[in-house]
């Protein structure tokens, strides 16, 4: 049976773990810098609300970080259990990159986190700010190493194959491989956008609950302005990344565009239902010659279709749809962040409907991120390392039943944890709002008791 093919199961399991894992580092990378920003604003201005913002968001950060750590531990095991052929073939490249990630970044973040979370009062403000900086820097450095490896798997460079094993000829070329700068930039900006919408969404939620203190306004503004600033840059970087992909992985572009047959003057497909059986699109809505124009900068330029790649091409439909979800979400983020920024700038407040849209888009960054990530990773299939190693070659010999059993276990856990995470984020917002309200009530009636330390 197709569904019990161990390679398919191993891929689904690995994809499920990666999907779950990537959500949390994406938040913690930029949230670390946001917290450093709140902290340094507090130190510079002495304004209490920056510290309130810090203390609220650091709780969400701690939760996010914990989920990232535990799902990251799972990754370090699954490289070996699911893809033993990966390390056997390209271990000389992947091994050092992974090792440097753990050595230079993972330990740094995890150790400094303890000081950042619980060290205030035990260390000086300066050391605490330093620890916050090191956590943020550590998460970013993690992204650097991991994306270097990930990019290398898409556009391998700086190595030679000897007896079926990759041997490095230039570490500089391995790390700064052709797609690395674009992918790293695209990922870090995606992280910034995710956090921008998270800050804005949760603050908008508190705002709707009539919690409109200076800390809520500050985080609302931070989120919206960060998102509004980053989204146009992201669109440009994303386009550059696409041009880079056309050069190195044309089959992925053909799948993204839904172009089955190599042709001159290819049409840009806006919507369709790709059908692998007939190698064509159903219900296609397309603009003639446009794809040739933006891919080759010539109305009649030749664009390679799926038929040019034999059996070495990705499945078209998931890549095609994921790409449209990502672009659609990007456009929505552009509209909402710019309109919100304009309202905040002009009117100093947000209309209630827009506030509700922001709440609905709290996790919009995740949707765009996963869609984009599916485009790039499914788009690499059937290769694990482009042109070097296929996923099927690297798969393990673990019995399908074991993979299926653990897959169900992981999926159940991940769905439960994701639900808990989202509901706890809003629960924390509600709790902060309730505390804020009771504080302002008791401030009015001059009861100092309400100012006690917030134990969590």
């Amino acid at each position: 049976m197709e569904t019990f093919d161990p390679v398919v199961l191993a891929r689904v399991q690995f994809a499920a773990n990666m999907t779950f894992h990537i959500l949390f580092p994406t938040i913690s990378i930029s949230m670390g810098w946001a917290l450093l920003f709140f902290k340094t604003r507090f130190v510079a201005t002495g304004q209490r609300h920056w510290m309130d913002a810090y203390q609220f968001w650091v709780k969400i950060f701690a939760l996010t970080f914990a989920l990232g750590v535990v799902s990251g531990i799972t990754m370090s095991f699954q490289f070996g259990t699911n893809w033993p052929g990966f390390m056997n073939t390209v271990g000389n490249v992947a091994g050092p990159l992974l090792a440097y990630e753990v050595l230079t970044a993972f330990f740094l973040e995890a150790t400094m986190l303890g000081i950042m979370l619980f060290g205030r009062g035990r260390v000086s403000e300066r050391v605490h700010t330093g620890a916050t900086f090191l956590v943020a820097a550590g998460t970013t450095l993690s992204a650097f190493w991991i994306l270097a490896l990930n990019s290398w798997m898409h556009t391998p460079a700086g190595f030679e194959m000897i007896n079926g094993q990759a041997h490095v000829t230039s570490w500089f070329e391995v790390i700064f491989n052709p797609s690395f700068p674009y992918r790293l930039a695209h990922m870090l900006i995606a992280s910034g956008l995710t956090v921008g919408f998270l800050l804005a969404g949760v603050s908008a939620y508190r705002w709707l609950k009539n919690d409109r203190g200076p800390d809520v306004l500050a985080t609302l503004r931070t989120g919206i302005f960060a998102a509004a600033f980053l989204i146009p840059i992201q669109i440009v970087v994303g386009d550059m990344h696409g041009v880079n992909t056309l050069q190195h992985q044309p089959a992925k572009i053909a799948a993204m565009e839904g172009i089955w047959k190599t042709e001159k003057g290819a049409a840009a497909v806006l919507f369709a239902i790709p059908d692998a059986a007939t190698q064509s699109n159903k219900f296609e809505i397309a603009i003639p010659k446009l794809a040739s124009l933006y891919l080759t900068h010539d109305w009649n330029g030749e664009v390679k279709g799926i038929d040019a790649f034999g059996d070495k091409h990705p499945p078209v439909a998931p890549v095609f749809f994921a790409f449209r979800v990502m672009v659609g979400m990007g456009m929505l983020m552009l509209a909402v962040s710019w309109f919100s920024a304009w309202q905040l700038g002009r009117r100093k407040t947000l209309q209630p409907w827009l506030t509700r849209v922001l709440v609905a888009m709290t996790f919009a960054g995740w949707v765009a991120l996963l869609a984009g990530w599916y485009v790039t990773e499914i788009g690499r299939q059937p290769w694990l390392v482009q042109g070097v190693l296929t996923a099927a070659q690297a798969a393990s010999t673990v019995p399908a039943a074991n993979i299926a059993f653990t897959l169900v276990m992981y999926l159940t856990l991940y769905i439960a944890l994701l639900t808990a995470y989202v509901s706890v984020v809003f629960h924390l917002a509600k709790k902060a709002t309730a505390k804020e309200t009771s504080r302002s009530v008791s401030d009015n009636s001059a009861q100092p008791g309400a100012m006690r330390v917030q134990h969590v």
Binding site: G80, N92, V102, T397, A420
Partner: protein, 344 residues
């Protein structure tokens, strides 16, 4: 079998050895550091009230993230330095590894969720924290048992591995209770002394079982320990282990009286001695297994990555590992002494 050791003056000879050492140190650090916080997790169910639970969690709060990172380093070194063994070992341990990962995940997040979720969900997360800690410890012990018996997978070795799992949970409880004796005060501290006494004999049984099983599994290990003059030279290992067990037992007997008089003298003895027992047991095990990564099947050198890759990682390890140890010590110093309530 020592003819299998290549020329150690060549990088191809000494680099795998260095990485085996780094991996062993990382695993040892993991077992001791995460061991105490897993132990505290298992003991959580026996706390009298919410306040005690909060104090127990507070004592491990600033550390557990970093403690688990040692596991990533240990497995990471196995993956990048000995990829062949990584595939064989983790393939053979597929199900216990999956159980451990799910348990560690559940436990790690329950730590955060229990104080952040709705109040009525707190008991649920506490239970998740306890169950996760218990199963993580047990599955690690099961893996240790399987490693010792050489992944035979027959009934006898599975039962043995299951029992080693229980003994490792007891050993983690002993470590965790020792940690709590150091870090807490009042009724919780007294309770921790009682918990430590409860887990002491199971821990001893586990150490004894492993010591007896390893030579039985392999004639080579038997010869390594009991041939002359090795048996005399190695005698200090079991002797000191036994002495440390006696030290812990005596200390646990005297502590309640002293603590009642508000005298904290010797509160660190059970923890420190237990760490000593772990060190010796680990050393004994490493001596038995070396140079094999998989008993009588794959040696450190057979499993090693190419010399060029190891060399690149070696520079990183030499520069970074001391820094990691440095800031780990720094973090522990910051939170030295009795733990206080956690607040951001």
């Amino acid at each position: 079998m020592f003819d299998s050791i290549p020329d150690l003056s060549q990088p191809a000879g000494w680099l795998p050895l260095v990485f085996a050492l780094v991996m062993a140190l990382a695993m040892l650090a993991y077992v001791i550091l995460d061991g105490y916080d897993l132990g505290v997790g298992v003991l959580l169910r026996r706390a009298d009230n919410e306040a005690q639970k909060d104090s127990m969690i507070a004592s491990i709060g600033p550390f557990w993230d970093a403690n688990e990172t040692w596991l990533v380093l240990g497995v990471g070194v196995l993956l990048v330095a000995f990829p062949m063994a990584h595939g064989v070992i983790l393939g053979a341990l597929y199900l216990p590894v999956a159980l451990m990962l799910v348990s560690l995940t559940l436990r790690g997040v329950a730590f955060d969720f229990r104080v952040k979720a709705r109040a009525e969900h707190k008991p649920l997360w506490d239970r998740a924290f306890y169950t996760g800690s218990l199963l993580a410890g047990w599955s690690q012990g099961f893996m240790l048992g399987s490693l010792i018996t050489g992944f035979k997978g027959n009934l006898w070795s599975t039962v043995f591995s299951g029992l080693i799992g229980l003994c490792l949970v007891a050993a983690y409880c002993l470590l965790g209770a020792g940690w709590l004796i150091m870090k807490s005060e009042g009724p919780l501290q007294l309770k921790a002394v009682a918990w430590a006494r409860g887990s002491l004999w199971f821990t001893a049984a586990g150490v004894l079982a492993i010591s007896l099983a390893t030579p039985l599994v392999s004639a080579r290990i038997l010869e390594k320990w009991f041939s002359f003059p090795n048996v005399i030279l190695l005698l200090p290992i079991p002797a000191v282990t036994l002495a440390l067990f006696i030290v812990v037992a005596r200390s646990l007997k005297r502590l309640p009286t002293r603590l009642a008089q508000n005298n904290q003298y010797g509160a660190a003895v059970p923890f420190a001695s237990t760490v000593g027992i772990f060190l010796l047991a680990f050393y004994g095990l490493a001596y038995s297994l070396f140079p094999w990564l998989v008993v009588d099947q794959i040696t450190v050198w057979q499993a090693a990555s190419s010399t060029e890759a190891l060399q690149v990682i070696f520079y990183g390890v030499v520069v970074v590992l001391p820094v990691i140890i440095g800031y780990t010590v720094f973090a522990y110093r910051i939170f030295w002494g009795k733990s206080t309530a956690l607040h951001y």
